[in-house]
């Protein structure tokens, strides 16, 4: 009886999971040391930030927007955390400050986009460049090193042999899946992405939905910054420069299309997309393909998956 009301992941997500399985089998055959526990754990550790930020990117892209500034935002927050760690501020204060900054920065993006009706891409390109300059100003050309926050244990600890980080990521994804699929605000996000006018007429405050979504995206960038510090222990100038594009790739491969394609996609698909790209990058290195071509493969995957979406979009749904 209740089953009718339960939104399920669409067929598109299964396609991504299928691809993921095929990829893992393929690399497993081609590269003997690909399917080792150590390697798999390393891949997950190295992509924890991408996994986190992709959630925010999924929400923003479900709305038909895009957030290109996440990488530089993560960089700014990581630097602030770094300086606070060096000044030996209380760890809870640091976490609080990081999240406040993240949400604040997201609010700025959301405010400009919702209040002035500026296209998402223009605003976030602009803020990306501004935050890049801020990173430059804060670091002044030097590196922050030797950072070891108290919570760094999380990234290394294991429960029953499974890395704690992986369990955390799965829990967070499950939480956001529940939030997006079953909570009122989550449904508002899908409705707004599907058809903003209709959403507005049915009483959803579209501007507020956008604003809050960008705040969530900023807050998640703050969490990613904390993970980054815990993993790397240092901050350098180029931090986060490839983050946004990697997340966009993960989200599009996972089936969430840009521009009001709110009917499709969920964080489950995004998780599959994140893992797909993570294993792809790892496999490229193990197989000895020149790493200069890595971005070419990712770009090709983005293009192919949007092409797939575009070609299948007309089918089944009368347009």
């Amino acid at each position: 009886m209740l089953k009718k009301y339960v939104p399920k992941p669409g067929r598109r997500e299964y396609v991504t999971f299928l691809l993921l399985v095929v990829e893992i089998i393929l690399f497993g055959i081609l590269a003997p040391n690909f399917l080792t526990v150590d390697n798999l754990i390393r891949v997950i550790q190295n992509n924890a930030e991408i996994a986190m930020v992709s959630i925010g990117m999924t929400i923003v892209m479900l709305l038909g927007g895009i957030d290109l500034s996440v990488g530089s935002v993560m960089g700014v927050i990581a630097i602030v955390i770094g300086y606070m760690l060096q000044a030996e501020v209380n760890i809870f204060l640091i976490i609080l400050a990081a999240i406040v900054i993240g949400v604040g920065v997201g609010f700025l993006n959301g405010f400009l986009i919702a209040r002035f009706d500026i296209p998402d891409m223009i605003v976030t390109i602009a803020t990306m460049n501004i935050w890049k300059a801020v990173i430059f100003a804060l670091l002044g050309g030097k590196w922050l090193t030797g950072l070891n926050p108290g919570y760094a244990v999380i990234t290394r600890a294991k429960v029953l042999g499974i890395p704690l980080l992986l369990i955390l990521i799965i829990i967070i994804y499950a939480g956001f899946y529940y939030f997006l699929m079953y909570r009122r605000f989550g449904r508002h996000i899908y409705a707004t992405g599907c058809n903003p006018q209709a959403a507005n007429l049915s009483g959803i405050n579209v501007k507020r939905v956008k604003l809050v979504s960008y705040c969530i995206s900023g807050g998640i960038a703050a969490i990613a910054a904390m993970l980054y510090i815990a993993r790397m222990g240092s901050v350098e100038m180029t931090i986060g420069s490839d983050l946004a594009i990697a997340c966009i790739a993960a989200v599009t491969i996972g089936g969430t299309g840009a521009k009001g394609n709110g009917k499709r996609g969920s964080v489950i698909g995004t998780l599959a997309g994140v893992l797909f790209i993570a294993f792809l990058k790892n496999g490229i290195v193990i197989l000895g393909i020149p790493s200069l071509l890595e971005n070419c493969f990712i770009g090709l995957l983005i293009v192919l998956s949007v092409l797939f979406d575009a070609l299948t979009a007309g089918k089944g749904v009368a347009q």
């Binding site: 500026i118 223009i122 390109i125 971005n295 293009v303 092409l307």
Partner: protein, 325 residues
């Protein structure tokens, strides 16, 4: 006073000219050397590549359907690398130029096929191709800039005729002229604008949307290739990162010049003034010894402020017109 404000707010060109004058005053206050005719003419060479790129970008944006081309910068890098490789492999400058221009058109065609034929959102499609082109450029050079062009190649961008840099006089001005004729004196341009303002109406008028949209993206690719050749001659090297960040500048210039992101709005003349403003600002900041990362940040600020101003001016004009009635 209100009358003057109204006329400035209503005409983008007047507003940009005002901005230009303000900028000149500020820059000449910062550095006394800036405001000499010689310097002003020489500064234009910094904007040569940007002018061509932003003309292509603007056309893509005018043609509507959320048109945008993020790959212009990478397309410029890749076609520049193509040119360098062709010359290194024994082609003459002329043959290399032909190869590069065809290459540029092909890169644009890929974008066009994705956006016009397959109806993929332009933003994501060109984001993907940006990655592909940039990575290919890096792979083809192995990360090492290609140098060793013949000395005669300097004539294109490093020498001046009548005190005007050659690439401006012999490439940018004629190309801009041709683009303006194409857009404002021929059917093609009217069709592009109609596609942007009302795609439905365009369809019923019998305009072949796919064809026109393909042409626009191909033109953007072609212009990127031309700017790549100018840039190669200017630096006398072909670098795989020559065009990185250029797409951001091109979009900024287009928006500053009054091109509407939704399509169909804006005039290329405004874009030209936008290019001059940005180029002057960049060189002014360079004279004042400001790091290039701040130039990008300033661009970011200008972009946001330009759009907010657009918003406010539209409202202002609407208010004044309402009160007149």
């Amino acid at each position: 006073m209100k009358k003057i404000a109204f006329s400035i707010a209503k005409s983008r060109t007047k507003f940009l000219l005002l901005l230009f004058v303000v900028e000149m005053v500020v820059l000449s206050l910062i550095s006394p050397y800036f405001f000499s005719i010689n310097n002003l003419v020489q500064v234009t060479q910094f904007g040569a590549a940007l002018t061509l790129l932003s003309l292509g970008e603007s056309l893509v944006m005018i043609a509507g359907r959320d048109g945008i081309d993020i790959s212009v910068g990478s397309a410029m890098s890749l076609s520049g690398v193509l040119f360098g490789l062709a010359v290194m492999n024994g082609c003459s400058i002329f043959t290399a130029t032909v190869i590069t221009l065809i290459g540029g058109i092909l890169l644009g065609t890929v974008n066009g096929l994705l956006v016009a034929a397959a109806k993929v959102p332009a933003l994501i499609a060109t984001l993907g191709t940006q990655y592909i082109y940039g990575s290919l450029a890096l792979y083809l050079t192995g990360g090492i800039p290609i140098s060793g062009f013949p000395d005669s190649f300097k004539a294109l961008s490093l020498e001046s005729t009548f005190g005007i840099p050659n690439q401006i006089l012999f490439v940018v001005v004629p190309v801009t002229f041709v683009v303006f004729i194409l857009v404002y004196k021929m059917k093609f341009g009217r069709r592009v604008y109609l596609l942007g303002t009302n795609p439905e109406a365009a369809k019923y008028t019998g305009i072949r949307e796919k064809q026109i949209r393909m042409c626009v993206y191909m033109l953007a690719g072609l212009l990127a290739a031309v700017s790549a050749i100018i840039n190669n001659s200017w630096l006398m090297t072909a670098r795989a990162d020559a065009g990185s960040g250029m797409e951001m500048q091109a979009i900024t210039v287009a928006v500053l010049g009054g091109i509407g992101v939704a399509g169909g709005v804006g005039h290329l003349g405004g874009v030209l003034i936008g290019v001059i403003i940005i180029t002057m600002m960049n060189s002014g900041l360079q004279i004042a010894n400001v790091n290039s990362i701040w130039q990008l940040a300033t661009l970011g600020f200008i972009l946001i402020i330009a759009i907010i101003l657009n918003h406010m001016m539209e409202r202002f004009v609407a208010n004044v017109e309402k009160s007149r009635k």
